[in-house]
């Protein structure tokens, strides 16, 4: 493999990591900071993508679609929090698992009801289509660069929100002792609704952006859910920095695994078998990575809590 290709693949790995971070950002907030196990995160991602595709098709404007995706997911998030999640904070974590599992079914089937079973069309807007040439002659899709930008912006925003603002502090306090923070005069109920809606909005935005270069269809949120959890746990729950680094690690491991493992096996195997074995191992790579990280650091790379 040529040097330039290797560099390009490293870039792809970083890029896919940032894309993962964008997909995981909402979950970082809801799961990492509020301490709520929300399996329906992927559904909110899907809601965003469908809202974007629907509005973009109706109005012809991707940007209106993007706005709609944020609004729709935030609204869905707020409704879900008020109607369901709010009743579960005091309960066992496991009740949250069951409730949000039920929400997955409701969202998926509800979306199918509204939009039918066929995948929707959503494509890169005119302004961001095509590619640019990076130094070294690497051609890179403009839209992907936009996704990278969005991922970085969200990372910085979240870092400031959670680490530096009073709201962030209060949310984390609520995670530690909800009853106590309320007894200090903080309206933790409303705060949680807001933060949950914000997390949902981020999921929705990721759904729209990532859905644009992938496919928009019912069930698109499920793989995202697992990946997002993997990213957050590797980084350490509650740490935005951790989530970002976790995402980059996962992105790199996945991409480089796919690219390099088959060639590694080719050294001592016949090509066809090597590609297949290499690919098999590559698909396990991120889970192996996660297991290794947790065995060595049981609280994730930057985890505050165990």
């Amino acid at each position: 493999m040529s040097m330039i290709l290797l560099i390009e693949q490293l870039l792809n790995g970083l890029q896919s990591g940032l894309m993962l971070f964008l997909m995981a950002a909402g979950l970082t907030l809801v799961f990492g900071v509020m301490g709520l196990i929300n399996l329906a995160h992927g559904s909110l991602y899907m809601v965003g993508a469908f809202a974007c595709a629907g509005v973009a098709a109706a109005t012809g404007s991707f940007w209106l679609g993007l706005a709609a995706s944020i609004a729709a997911a935030a609204a869905a998030g707020a409704i879900v929090e008020v109607a369901v999640i709010r009743r579960l904070y005091r309960r066992d974590h496991l009740d949250q698992v069951l409730a949000t599992f039920a929400l997955i079914l409701i969202f998926s089937e509800g979306t199918r009801w509204l939009y039918g079973s066929f995948p929707l069309y959503l494509n890169v807007p005119e302004a961001l289509s095509g590619s640019v040439t990076l130094p070294g002659g690497i051609r890179y899709s403009l839209f992907r660069l936009a996704i990278i930008g969005a991922g970085l912006a969200v990372a910085v925003g979240l870092f400031l929100l959670i680490g530096k603002t009073r709201i962030g502090v209060q949310v984390r306090a609520g995670e530690a002792d909800r009853e106590m923070i309320a007894a200090l005069g903080v309206d933790i109920r409303r705060l949680y609704t807001l933060v949950f809606a914000l997390g949902a909005a981020l999921a929705g935005m990721a759904g729209a952006l990532v859905g644009t270069i992938q496919s928009v269809q019912v069930g698109m949120g499920e793989p995202v859910l697992i990946l997002a959890f993997v990213v957050i746990v590797i980084g350490g729950i509650g740490s935005i920095k951790g989530a970002l680094i976790g995402a980059l690690l996962v992105g790199l491991t996945d991409t480089m695994g796919r690219v390099l493992l088959p060639s590694v096996f080719e050294l001592f195997m016949e090509t066809s078998a090597a590609t297949s074995v290499g690919a098999a191992l590559a698909s396990m790579a991120i889970y192996i990575l996660m297991a290794l990280v947790l065995i060595v650091k049981p609280g994730g790379l930057f985890g505050a809590r165990a």
């Binding site: 009073r166 306090a173 530690a176 002792d177 923070i181 309320a182 007894a183 509650g238």
Partner: protein, 229 residues
């Protein structure tokens, strides 16, 4: 003039087991009331009802002219209740500074002022609360309650686990706060210290208020009977 806090015939239960069977108490503006009783008699439960962390099953609570009966606990707190809870309950994952920040509300108490009161906290500002020593945590939660600039400061065993010097300091601080006109509801086991701040005492026994009176009157045989001293 109506009292700052007026609790009448309070009843409360944990599930099926009743813990309060009619507790009444009043605190006037600027006064300090000591709530006393042996272990398990319902002091903490009474406080939980006042701060609306627990729903009373009967009786009336009014605070600063508001009926607390239907308010959620954050609204009750915003009326001016500042709680130092039993068992500390500092926000474990947050730093000292963040703990204080989380509770802050406008008023004369600021992080700086709290740190003046407890210099230890300034030294440990960036340490996570769960790794603080017990006494440091205790200082932190008192500071945290002050950060809300409360009309009524509620201290549930606030000097538990403090070194004598610090305890003396805290009592001095409490007396000072009192002198500045701060209203206080205090639960503590040290009669001597209580006597020095409290204007009034209420003794609980098995969820009932069995004795009201000034601290001086609670001595000898009475103290033996109600508190086992």
């Amino acid at each position: 003039m109506s009292a700052l806090l007026d609790v009448e015939d309070l009843h409360a239960a944990y599930g099926a087991s009743q813990a309060l069977f009619g507790v009444s108490l009043r605190i006037e503006e600027g006064q300090a009331l000591a709530l006393m009783g042996r272990n398990g008699m319902g002091k903490t439960t009474t406080i939980a009802c006042i701060t609306r962390m627990m729903a009373a099953s009967g009786g009336r609570i009014s605070f600063a002219g508001h009926d607390l009966a239907r308010l959620p606990s954050h609204k009750a707190a915003r009326l001016g209740l500042g709680l130092v809870p039993e068992g500390r309950r500092a926000f474990a994952g947050l730093t000292v500074r963040e703990n204080l920040m989380a509770a802050a509300r406008k008023g004369e108490w600021t992080i700086e002022k709290v740190c003046d009161l407890f210099p230890r906290l300034a030294e440990r500002a960036r340490q996570r609360a769960e790794t603080l020593s017990g006494g440091e945590q205790q200082m932190l939660v008192i500071g945290r309650a002050l950060m809300t600039n409360p009309k009524l400061l509620i201290l549930d065993e606030a000097t538990e686990g403090l070194a004598p010097v610090v305890r003396a300091e805290i009592w001095a601080a409490i007396r000072e706060l009192k002198a500045q006109g701060q209203s206080i509801l205090v639960v503590d086991k040290s009669l001597r210290e209580l006597a020095a701040v409290a204007d009034d005492c209420v003794v609980l026994e098995r969820g009932r208020d069995v004795w009201h009176g000034p601290p001086e009157a609670l001595s000898g045989e009475l103290a033996q009977r109600y508190l086992g001293v």
